[in-house]
Symmetry: C2
Subunit: 203 residues, 2 copies
């Protein structure tokens, strides 16, 4: 399932209904299972065929949302030709996700504090580790692409190489957050900085 979404039709109806309620401004505390069923246009009984509790809906919707988002990122990255365009593609998508206040991702992040997250997932944050491991695999493939293009030596310390990619991405996100108004020029400069930082770190 992870990063290659495959959900049952009704499951999707229910999870998307929850995301619509959140995007309509309802808070997680306010939303009842009956609201979700109504928004999805299905009976409460049907809902319980697919989910055990309200918390279960929330938890699985979070995973669904991350799945979908990651899948889109990897797909775009694969389409880009070389190392540099792959890197800039990821930065551009991250910027778009962060800019779109109506994206699922934004909604969930904005509505959920760490405490909610822990409650909803029953304290089992192992799904985060699973995602990180998928992401790490993709990052190491990307690093191999760059090394094959002769942009830097093949990474001998995987942990360090991974850190360099994470650092470059986070420095871009941080630069973007510091902009009053993200103009194309300012964004371009922030992307260039992140890319320079990455190449230097891996050199």
């Amino acid at each position: 399932m992870m990063t290659s979404p495959s959900y049952k039709e009704k499951e999707l109806l229910i999870m998307r209904a929850l995301l619509r309620l959140l995007s309509g401004g309802m808070s997680i505390a306010e939303i009842k299972t009956s609201d979700i069923a109504q928004e999805a246009g299905i009976g409460k009984g049907t809902l319980y065929n697919y989910f055990d509790t309200k918390e279960d809906i929330f938890a699985r919707t979070i995973i669904y949302s991350i799945d979908t988002q990651l899948h889109a990122v990897f797909e775009q990255m694969n389409k880009a030709q070389d190392f540099k365009s792959k890197c800039y593609t990821v930065l551009r998508i991250v910027h778009e996700i962060a800019s779109n206040e109506h994206s699922d991702f934004h909604l969930l992040l904005f509505n959920l504090g760490g405490k909610d997250m822990k409650q909803l997932t029953g304290g089992d944050m192992s799904f985060v580790r699973r995602y990180l491991s998928v992401i790490r695999g993709k990052v190491m493939l990307l690093a191999q692409t760059g090394a094959a293009e002769g942009l830097f030596p093949p990474p001998c310390d995987e942990e360090y190489a991974y850190s360099a990619f994470a650092a470059a991405l986070m420095s871009f996100v941080h630069a973007r957050c510091r902009m009053d108004l993200p103009t194309d020029k300012a964004l371009g400069r922030a992307m260039d900085n992140a890319y320079t930082l990455l190449l230097k770190a891996l050199s």
Copy 2:
């Protein structure tokens, strides 16, 4: 006030009472002004001499907590002798803050989502910019220290240099989060990675 805390005694009593209530497990929604007054051992009337609303208490407690924390970081950093020990000092403090689930910082971060934060501060996030500008000033001073020690050339692009420090710090925090159990050895390696990354990025 910023990063050089100076508060009235009663103000402190009230803000610390709020932090104790949060650390006792109460949620922001549950806490009433009367709870804070009671915990602080003062009358509700007295409380309103210092704060306008419950939201006002929350908003100023957040700022108080960041002030105190930043002040401590800068003080420790100043005490360290050279560039490398200053960098490792900051990483160590960040690790300690992140490890201490009872720290004010942790409590606030853990209890507040982005939405709460926006509500509490009335959507005025300008205080974040003020902090970032204080931090940026300190970072540029630190960069000058490193350049003076001949570790890298004096930064000509301030924005890039600042990004490099932010990237190194965030890569450390991310590495720390990925550890099942942060052992001294693993932490030391993560600090070394962050420091290497910083030097390379600034080279």
